[in-house]
């Protein structure tokens, strides 16, 4: 078990003068399950690309089976038995499972003809090896995410792999599917194949791996048997700071009559997604919505933002019933939504900061067709200042900002619309540690100052525990529990989530 399969020694990689990997060393032993942990942007994907020959390192050396490899290319990496399962799986949705599985074999053998019988045989064997049930004639595009992942794993296994790198493999899986995945990972390991599990989800890493390496800002910061780590220490290594734990406390304002809830939902249901949801959020409250992927939490957010118009039940904002048929209805009602994927859903990357901030406000700025530029300028420059967006000018394309600043631009967009209800889906995904804390501070500040009702959805339980005054747990389309964060810990919430299958 102790012989190294692949060894990176002092690997250095720069992009246009920016150091992505700073003398990283990493050893993966034959047949071990190794975790590579790090925040988004820490250099994890660069490490993967160096190992799979996509990037050529600018310094350092790579050893496979103790022998130095002079120049690793994608082809030679595969030849050495290194297989990568990308997050998007790299499958052909328009082709069948069988063809997807056999394609690489045909390509490797440099065939010029397509032998369908052999294709089926190869595929059948691959599926057999994985001990899973897959319809070989199904079109891959129609499989659920977990099915696609199985195809990708089966394909990787076929090529006499010695190391399979899995890039964030659990992102889109339900807990049950994650368990199936882990069973398969152990099964693969039992055949002497090493696995590099790349992730930022601590609980899963601790559960699956034997050894782990933590990187931060392109540097290795910790390494050792998984038993030596716990969640707190991994977090500390990943973020470089001890997270200060000052939970968000909210108390109803003193006085006789409490104000009506900012947001109130009664018996909200979307057939097949969720049902019977009731919740009231008062001004200034930050309520976490936690649940596994597929629990219906994103659907709740989309319903409130008018994107699932077929809902049943009642939604009230400040006591007044609202109908949410379109996103426009939601915005009119004062409901704002910050989507999960900032880059593809939140921002107009090539456009200026100003335009990104004003996107939703233009209609209000142009009562008589022409946009009131003075007001627009006043609004954007005010926002840049109050949100502390680091830029000399609002005309700069938003693509040039850092992740944290970009997220502030999205928040600013909604603040300009006088939103009263703010729904945040993964508010700090892909944001570096320093900005993360600042964004959290900003959200709290906004909730208090503007009396917003905030719904925060996140995979990161710690984030919820620290920033919400209460957390609603969701499972299979229902609210199953609710906890006050002042009286609970991350552990407890995570343990509760763990019981959901």
């Amino acid at each position: 078990m102790s012989d190294a399969f692949i060894e990176l020694r002092d690997i250095r990689k720069e992009f246009a003068g920016v150091v992505a990997l700073d003398d990283i060393s990493l050893t993966i032993r034959a047949g071990e399950i190794h975790c590579l942990a790090g925040e988004n942007g820490s250099g994890k994907s660069t490490v993967i690309k160096v190992m799979s020959g996509v990037y050529q390192p600018d310094g350092g050396s790579i050893l496979i089976d103790g022998q130095p490899v002079s120049r690793l290319t994608p082809i030679s990496a595969i030849g050495h038995g290194v297989q990568v399962i990308y997050q998007d799986f790299s499958l052909f949705g328009n082709l069948t499972v069988a063809e997807n599985l056999a394609m690489n074999v045909h390509l490797r053998e440099k065939r010029s003809l397509m032998d369908w019988r052999r294709t089926r045989a190869i595929a059948a064997e691959a599926v057999e090896r994985l001990k899973v049930d897959l319809d070989l004639d199904a079109e891959v595009g129609r499989l659920p995410t977990a099915g696609k992942q199985l195809v990708a794993i089966a394909r990787a296994l076929m090529s006499d792999a010695r190391l399979i790198i899995m890039d964030e493999p659990t992102t889109a899986l339900t807990r049950k599917e994650v368990e199936t995945l882990f069973r398969i990972v152990h099964d693969i390991q039992s055949r002497g194949i090493a696995i590099l599990f790349v992730s930022h989800k601590m609980r899963e890493m601790l559960e699956i791996s034997e050894r782990m390496t933590v990187i931060r800002n392109g540097r290795k910061v910790a390494e050792g048997p998984t038993g030596d780590f716990d969640e707190a220490s991994i977090t500390r290594h990943m973020t470089g700071t001890d997270i200060l734990n000052e939970p968000y406390v909210w108390s109803p304002p003193a006085g006789a009559e409490p104000p009506p809830p900012r947001l109130e939902i009664r018996d909200l249901a979307v057939p097949g997604r969720f049902e019977g949801l009731s919740l009231a959020i008062r001004p200034g409250e930050i309520v976490g919505l936690s649940g596994l992927l597929g629990s219906g939490r994103t659907e709740v957010a989309l319903t409130l933002f008018g994107m699932l118009p077929g809902y049943r039940g009642e939604v009230r904002v400040d006591g007044a019933p609202v109908t949410l048929r379109t996103t426009h209805d939601a915005i009119e009602a004062g409901i704002a939504y910050v989507p999960e994927d900032r880059l593809t859903e939140g921002l107009f990357l090539a456009q200026s900061i100003n335009r990104n901030m004003l996107a939703t406000s233009y209609e209000r700025l142009a009562p008589r067709l022409v946009i009131d530029r003075h007001r627009a300028d006043a609004m954007t420059s005010g926002m840049i200042k109050s949100m502390q967006i680091a830029t000399p000018t609002g005309e700069k394309p938003v693509i040039e900002l850092s992740g944290g600043n970009q997220q502030r631009v999205v928040l600013a967009r909604w603040l300009l619309t006088d939103a009263r209800v703010l729904i945040l889906n993964g508010p700090t995904v892909g944001v570096d540690v320093g900005s993360k804390a600042e964004i959290h501070r900003k959200i709290r500040e906004l909730a208090v100052r503007h009396g917003l009702a905030v719904v925060m959805i996140s995979d990161d339980v710690l984030e919820l525990v620290q920033n919400c005054n209460r957390i609603v747990l969701m499972h299979r389309g229902r609210f199953v529990d609710e906890v006050e964060t002042a009286a609970t810990t991350e552990e407890q919430v995570s343990d509760m989530l763990k019981t959901f299958t």
Binding site: P74, I75, I78, Y86, D88, S90, L91, F92, G93, N94, L95, E99, M103, N104, H106, L107, R108, R111, S112, L113, M114, W116, R142
Partner: protein, 325 residues
Amino acid sequence: MTWLRRSEVVIAGILVLAMIVIGLVNPAFWQLDNLFSLLRSNVIIGIMALGVLLVLISGGIDVSFPAFAVAAMYLTVKGMLYLGYDGVALPFLTAAVMGLLFGSLNAFFVYKFRMIPLIVTLGTGAMVRGFLLGVVGTSMININKMPPALIDFARTDVLSFTKADGTTYGLTAMVLIYLGLALAMHLVLRYTMIGRSVYALGGDAEAARRAGFDLRKTIFFVYCTAGALAGFAGLLHSGMIWLANPRDFVGLELDVIAAVVLGGASIFGGRGTVLGTMLGVFMLVMVKNSLIIMKVDTTWQRVVVGIIIIIATAVTAWRDRRRQA
């Protein structure tokens, strides 16, 4: 019952329905000579459609092939006249190679500069046609001058009958060439790795690159084959109508693309079959030709083709959305 959901079956069903309707309006539709002439009209559009099918599967689009076809045809016939050569095989080879070279121009720009194929092929099409008319000439070569070998070749019938009034009619052997090319295309698409690479490219270009496909080879194969088929079809066309007209095929790209889309190929790439394309071609040609039988003024042809494109694509879009939901 999965075969019932296949798009070819749906198209074939609509086709049969359309034939029954047209036959009811005018029973002359079912007369053998009408059916033969219908098949004859399939040949040129059909051969070009095979090339366009390839391009669409790869995720591209091609509007330059009519220009390539006419240039290959006209240059070949001119060359034959200049050299006094009168044969069949060599000219067809020449026309196909010429089309192939034009096609490689498309491939080069699409691959090298990663530019939207529509814009590239608009440019190459205009260049080739402009060159042909501006440099080579604009005069038609009519039956008096056309190389007799070409005409004789294109006149070959596989079946011929004599009508009661003494006139003869037959089924042109060119249909066999079309069927042969279609079969070859089907085999290439289904049973060769280069054919599968076209589907892979159209399905997910990035995944195809990662899997280790040589995308340059695939893109060149796609556009060169489309060009070669167009060049071949162009020369065949001139033999069949006894005329080499350098202004021919204007606007034909719309008909051919319509036929291929009608045949179930996806404009987003990754989907399409030879059988579906042949059915789509047949449908389009039949509707156009039957307008005459149905006593509709021929000036309505383009309107009808346009409406067919719109309906076919609307149905496809609707189906795709349902598939996603």
